[in-house]
């Protein structure tokens, strides 16, 4: 218990983040004699060719052809044959040279021979012109959407908390857009604030309703919008109001009536760094699933079934993120799309719920969240398979150990689309993709009443 208390009260490790064209990385900051220090060798190592050699009190450091000489316990150093004064003594620990953190803004440009911007308070260091800027605007649509356009692709960690959605940029050089506090002309999304601390940046969007985020434009655009509500519009939703919206008349109860309620969530599997199967030398599974996903969303919408596409660009989403986003959208059905070069036609999967995943009282086990919906999922799978077969497309219904199917709290199916012949490139053919998704959408539409009744 004592150790648990000690662990709990342990202070957060101090870190510095370095953003450059060569690499974005984070290093621990050391406390020595009341000052913050950093190892010079590990600071420069990801940026280029470095070497260091200790000789008595001298520590000779070389970055490409730039030579520096530091002396243990002294503040004066020589860089490129000129004197340089450190704000505190240089330290030599077991051959490792440490310099005060506060000197990085002036020391690094001398060695790198280029501009460096160092925000010492947040411990974020930018080498060259690498900062990622963004604009944020709330649309006048109903419900409103906060659209943020970034100058480079971003992949923040997204977390929701009462009255706010937090996007943590741990690896991206995102900087504040002029002011750190943003206000919007919206009662549902009134403000956002940009925060920088301990080598990381975060954007916290305040709202009076639960929010969700999606990505577009290859990760350059993040759209934050209210989560579609599963409860009847007349039922008030209890959402704590953020302090920034104190003057706003409680919109929480009325907001859900304006929020779009999705019937289906379409999830193109893989994406970003995760390519999925290599279908041919050039064709990755993630690209085929995205194309199929976009077409399926269109086909479902055409049939009057509002649909949400989880990934509308080449972005990385973890399986847990996919499940969380789906469960918070409360759709009637979740459809995950895969593609394969083996076999032919379409294989339809429902979840194999793992062993030892039991729910306790009102709490659902994450791994067995699908248990109560397995029958509904199989009904949907059977309906889609029948529709595919009626269009002469081979279809087979199976159970599979495929996440995140078992984490979904609604009807959930996965499709694995294979070519109809030996020609794998057919998977990329618009005509073949359209034939498949039209049949799937028709199958889902055919099961609409059962799915609506099941949610």
């Amino acid at each position: 218990m004592v150790s648990a208390l000690l662990l709990h009260s342990a202070p957060e490790e101090k870190r510095i983040s370095i953003y450059s064209n060569a690499a974005n990385y984070s290093l621990p900051v050391l406390e020595r004699n009341g000052d913050e220090y950093i190892g010079l060798l590990e600071l420069f190592e990801p940026l280029g060719a470095v070497s260091a050699k200790a000789s008595g009190p001298h520590w000779k450091f070389r970055y490409y052809d730039v030579d520096s000489d530091f002396v243990a316990g002294k503040t004066r150093a020589r860089i490129r044959s000129t004197d340089y004064d450190l704000p505190a003594s240089f330290l030599l620990e077991n051959g490792r040279g440490l310099v005060p953190l506060s000197c990085l803004g002036t020391l690094m440009p001398r060695i790198l021979r280029g501009p460096v911007t160092f925000n010492q308070n947040s411990r974020r260091l930018f080498v060259g012109n690498v900062a990622v800027h963004f604009t944020a605007q709330v649309s006048k649509t109903t419900p409103p959407k906060l659209v943020m356009n970034f100058t480079a692709p971003v992949n923040p960690m997204i977390a929701t908390e009462p009255g706010a959605l937090r996007m943590a940029f741990n690896h991206e050089a995102v900087v504040a857009p002029g002011s750190q506090a943003l206000t919007f002309d919206s009662k549902i999304i009134p403000s956002a604030s940009f925060q920088e601390n301990n080598g990381a940046a975060a954007l916290v969007v305040a709202a009076t309703v639960p929010l969700m985020a999606s990505f577009a434009n290859n990760g350059r655009t993040v759209i934050v919008e209210p989560v579609p509500q599963a409860v009847a519009p007349s039922q008030p939703v209890s959402v704590p109001r953020p302090p920034t919206s104190a003057s706003i008349a409680s919109p929480a109860a009325s907001a859900p009536s304006n929020i779009r309620r999705y019937f289906a969530v379409v999830d193109p599997s893989h994406g970003g760094a995760e390519r999925g199967a290599s279908l041919t030398a050039e064709l990755a599974e993630k690209d085929v699933t995205l194309a199929l996903g976009r077409r399926l969303r269109q086909e479902l919408e055409t049939r009057g079934l509002p649909s949400l596409l989880l990934r509308d660009g080449d972005t990385t989403l973890s399986l847990d993120q996919r499940a969380s986003l789906t469960n918070s959208a409360h759709p009637a059905i979740y459809i995950c799309i895969h593609a394969a070069s083996q076999g032919n036609g379409v294989r339809l999967y429902t979840a194999l719920v793992p062993a030892q995943a039991e729910s306790n009282g009102p709490f659902l086990s994450w791994d067995a969240a699908q248990t109560a919906f397995q029958l509904l999922s199989r009904t949907a799978g059977t309906g889609v398979a029948a529709e595919l077969q009626s269009k002469q497309i081979p279809a087979r219904a199976l159970i599979a150990p495929l996440r995140p199917l078992n984490n979904i709290t609604t009807a959930a199916i996965a499709l694995e689309v294979a070519p109809s012949s030996e020609d794998v490139s057919q998977l990329n053919s618009p005509a073949y993709q359209q034939l498949i998704v039209a049949a799937i959408a028709a199958g889902v539409a055919g099961a609409r009443d059962k799915l609506e009744a099941g949610r």
Binding site: Q342, P354, A355
Partner: protein, 199 residues
């Protein structure tokens, strides 16, 4: 004047010398070729003594996308855990064969099988097995189900199976089949029943 028989003898000797020289020159190449053709990347099963026993392997067939039981006779050691590992190695030998119905990457191995009471079996695969495995929902499911069903059908008392790679937990086999959870044998038996029916 050189006698005729002497000229013939010298000629024969020169021909033999030339022939031998050519043979010696080509010899290293032949040895390299014969060595490389004899190279076998399949794991070598440790020697086991005793008579052979019949076991049922659940073999995946990619062409039809099915799993079929295949009775085979193999020599098995006495220990329960060693038997479990030996049975799975017999299954792997089939998959690594030139005419495999469900090819695995060369060098794929079962590192070990641990039987932990009550009813838990842990299969530890080597990294090559997972890293070289083809990616796809069905193709990965066939491998996982084949391993779990072969083990549980031949070693009584197994109710749950966990698959590790190099002794560590891994999210998926090759991007699809879940390895983060335990496999419930009765549930897998249901999947096997589905996979025995050709589409």
């Amino acid at each position: 004047m050189i006698p005729r028989h002497l000229i013939i003898a010298v000629g024969i000797l020169l021909a033999i010398t030339l022939g031998m020289s050519l043979y010696v020159l080509r010899m290293p190449g032949r040895v390299e070729r014969s060595e490389s053709s004899a190279e076998n990347t399949q794991p070598v099963a440790p020697p086991v003594s005793g008579s052979t026993e019949q076991v049922t392997l659940y073999v995946a067939y990619d062409d039809a996308g099915v799993l079929r039981p295949k009775p085979v006779r193999i020599q098995l050691p006495a220990g329960r855990q060693e038997r479990a590992a030996e049975i799975l190695r017999a299954l792997l030998t089939l998959y690594l064969d030139k005419f495999s119905p469900h090819p695995l990457g060369a060098g794929s191995e079962i590192r070990d099988v641990y039987l932990v009471d009550p009813g838990l079996a842990v299969i530890d695969l080597n990294a090559v097995f997972a890293d070289s495995h083809r990616s796809g929902v069905l193709i990965e499911e066939l491998t996982v189900v084949s391993l779990v069903q072969t083990l549980s059908a031949n070693i009584p008392g197994i109710t749950r199976v966990k698959i590790l790679v190099e002794g560590r937990e891994r999210d998926t086999l090759a991007g699809h089949a879940d390895l983060s959870n335990f496999y419930d044998v009765p549930a897998v038996t249901q999947v096997v029943a589905q996979l025995q029916n050709a589409p």
